[in-house]
């Protein structure tokens, strides 16, 4: 029921991602304004105004920077975030219906590690470098549970193709009988997009970390890449756990969008509820709790499948 789109799908995908990313950023700004007691209407316009501001802002240079890698990092992040969504179906259309779709998604999000590290390292600045270090440490903490979750889903469907995974959920969504995997997936999406509460790599305590030296268009591309990565992660939760485009009344592409928006809203909202989780504390939880939990979930799913 999932089929590959014609060439226009390639053009449509970035547009859909951009709209969702902008919606998420707007929602986030509104939540921020509510707690600050500010003007909600002005807050809703804030993300677009930020874009305008970054377009006209001077690009900074730092001394002895590795300019190519530093400026390239944002582009790599943005491209990887868009490419990760290549295999995510919108209803019945996917831009690429690869036989190893899940692996493709995983590979693209790991490109983000390189991107954030390069952004931190390339600028030749201590705080930015610390931000880069932090993301690598974060990767060590969240990536293994994340991969076990993806494995669990693949075992459940008996395939790495996203279309097959959606088809396998026709009777029962995976979220129902893999709840642990679903929760760990959402946590790891926040961590991979270094989004609150896992925003330590761009933390305010080190002047914005990997973002510390970026300004103007470089900053815009990097920040946009981060939001799109969050959207890509949230969108993938729909075919993996929430039955893809299936649902009553509405066409399936609309269901995909509604579910993605709902996951995205939950992620943005939940991220604001807790302080920033530092990796010196989280790594222990990730390895001692999340890895065993996801392994048990994988075992349970394997037994059911057999």
């Amino acid at each position: 029921m999932v089929e590959q789109t014609a060439w226009w799908g390639t053009l449509l995908l970035p547009v859909v991602l951009a709209v969702l990313a902008l919606a998420a950023a707007t929602f986030d700004a509104t939540l921020a304004a509510r707690s600050a007691g500010g003007d909600l209407r002005a807050a809703a316009a804030a993300p677009l105004r930020s874009v305008a501001g970054l377009l006209v802002q001077q690009r900074r240079r730092t001394l002895a920077a590795d300019t190519l890698l530093w400026r390239g990092a944002g582009i790599v992040l943005l491209v990887a975030a868009v490419m990760a969504a290549l295999v995510t179906p919108l209803g019945r259309w996917a831009v690429g219906d690869l036989s190893v779709g899940v692996v493709w998604f995983n590979a693209m999000e790991i490109v983000a590690w390189a991107a954030v590290w390069l952004a931190g390292w390339g600028g030749n600045s201590a705080f930015a470098l610390v931000g880069g270090y932090r993301f690598v440490a974060q990767g060590l903490a969240y990536e293994l549970p994340h991969m076990f979750v993806l494995t669990t889903v693949a075992i459940g469907a008996g395939s790495l193709r996203v279309a097959d995974i959606v088809a396998a959920q026709q009777d029962l969504w995976f979220v129902v009988w893999m709840p642990i995997a679903f929760v760990v997936y959402l946590v790891s999406v926040l961590a991979m997009a270094f989004f609150r509460p896992f925003d330590q790599p761009v933390g305010g305590d080190i002047g914005g970390g990997a973002l510390a030296e970026l300004s103007g268009v470089d900053r815009l591309v990097f920040v946009a890449g981060r939001w799109v990565l969050l959207v890509s992660g949230a969108a993938m939760a729909v075919p993996l756990f929430l039955g893809g485009g299936s649902g009553p009344l509405l066409p399936d592409w609309a269901w995909s969008l509604v579910k993605t928006a709902a996951v995205l809203a939950v992620l943005v909202w939940a991220g604001r509820r807790v302080p920033t989780v530092r990796m010196d504390r989280f790594t222990e939880v990730a390895w001692m709790v999340l890895i065993p939990a996801t392994l048990l979930q994988a075992l349970f799913v394997s037994i059911v499948v057999i």
């Binding site: 939540l31 921020a32 304004a33 707690s35 600050a36 007691g37 500010g38 003007d39 002005a42 807050a43 804030a46 677009l48 105004r49 930020s50 305008a52 501001g53 377009l55 006209v56 802002q57 001077q58 690009r59 900074r60 730092t62 001394l63 002895a64 920077a65 600028g123 030749n124 600045s125 201590a126 705080f127 610390v130 270090y133 932090r134 609150r196 509460p197 925003d199 330590q200 933390g203 305010g204 305590d205 080190i206 002047g207 914005g208 973002l211 510390a212 030296e213 970026l214 300004s215 103007g216 900053r219 604001r272 509820r273 807790v274 302080p275 920033t276 989780v277 530092r278 010196d280 504390r281």
Partner: protein, 376 residues
């Protein structure tokens, strides 16, 4: 109207607020105005477009501020707020400068101030002038002809806490750093993100503390409450809990405008309850910056960051009770002790934890007398 002008008009103001010694009143007024206008404060010069100096910058601080100013990309404006008055007018002026195409075009092409020179890569925001001259030959580097392009010296190496030989960077924290005590400079030697060694320096005093006005018989309730809320807000912001930090700031500003205790009590309880109940916060702050358990440690600073935050919450709530509990506001003794203890407390901790340690002790350097300028 051309495109640049239109984009400039849309540019959201991002103020980077620099607290000068003795500038607490100005800082509070600026932070309040910024929040009420819905502006997002900047965390770094790269993100900022308005540089706000709160208080009177002395000679040394002014040199640092100039270096930071050179790091702020155009469009940009600088504002010096000396007192509590006039904040609105000054920020409006900054906004006008920000939207002025001709002035910003000139700003974008202006070379950095000749007397401040370029900024070394290791220590962007917070360079102190005595460490910073054209030849970059200071801070113990002995790297003869091995300079990289741009005359940045190679980093030193030394054993780290695990016995590995790693690069070490000299990174000063402060005096221009958001959510940092005004006038404090902590010179760190970093390996990765671990602080290996620390020396503490203090910028010249700015004439008395806002929180402890001289010659008064006891601190007044509203100011004491505002002090605790200010400290909590800064600690929560550094802990990454922006929403609750902003609530604390709102309460602080209300307390400073003299809102009646009865009006403050309810929102305060709600906020304090939420902060106290957060299991994540407990898990993240426990064990950070534990002060030694001996009689020389001031009672107000005993325990770890979590204990101190809770003490602020309790003090705030108790102060508004009827009858109010006696106020124990930190003063000279606490600040002096903190300055002396920081090198030991910060050695071997990660940068994130180091910032939490300083914020949880929140020394008010303005209470110290003019004479003791150097420590550590």
């Amino acid at each position: 109207m051309d495109l640049s002008a239109r984009l400039l008009r849309l540019t959201p103001p991002r103020p980077l607020v620099v607290g000068a010694p003795g500038g607490t009143a100005a800082r509070l007024a600026v932070e309040r105005a910024v929040r009420e206008r819905g502006w997002q404060p900047a965390m770094s010069p790269a993100e900022a477009n308005i540089l706000v100096v709160a208080g009177l910058a002395g000679h040394t601080l002014e040199a640092c501020v100039r270096q930071v100013w050179n790091l702020v990309p155009a469009p940009r404006a600088r504002v010096d707020v000396v007192g509590r008055e006039d904040v609105a007018r000054l920020l409006d002026t900054a906004l006008r400068v920000l939207g002025d195409v001709d002035q910003q075009r000139a700003e974008a092409t202006r070379p950095p101030d000749a007397d401040t020179g370029h900024v070394e890569a290791e220590s962007h925001h917070d360079v102190t002038p005595d460490e910073h001259h054209g030849d970059h030959g200071h801070h113990g580097h002995d790297m003869g002809g091995m300079d990289m392009p741009g005359s940045v010296p190679m980093a030193d190496r030394a054993d780290d806490r695990d016995g590995l030989t790693l690069d070490q960077l000299h990174v000063p924290l402060g005096p221009v750093l958001p959510l940092w005590p005004a006038g404090l400079i902590v010179h760190t030697r970093l390996q990765g993100d671990v602080v290996q060694h620390v020396t503490v320096e203090r910028l010249g005093a700015g004439g008395g503390s806002f929180w402890r006005p001289p010659g008064d018989d006891g601190p007044d309730v509203h100011r004491a409450v505002a002090r605790w809320l200010d400290s909590s807000a800064r600690l929560l912001a550094l802990a990454g809990w922006t929403d609750q930090s902003v609530v604390a700031m709102r309460l602080r500003d209300e307390a400073l405008t003299g809102a009646p205790a009865a009006a403050l009590r309810r929102p305060l309880h709600r906020w304090a309850g939420r902060v106290r109940r957060s299991r994540t916060l407990r898990w993240l702050l426990a064990g950070i910056g534990s002060t030694p358990d001996d009689p020389t440690t001031p009672a107000l600073l005993a325990g770890d960051a979590l204990t101190r935050l809770r003490r602020w919450l309790d003090s705030t709530e108790n102060a508004l009770e009827q009858p109010p509990a006696p106020l124990a506001v930190p003063g000279m003794r606490e600040t002096q002790w903190t300055m002396d203890a920081l090198p030991e407390l910060l050695a071997g901790v990660e940068l994130a934890a180091a910032r939490l340690v300083v914020a949880s002790l929140d020394p008010d350097l303005d209470v110290l007398s003019r004479h003791e300028a150097h420590h550590g």
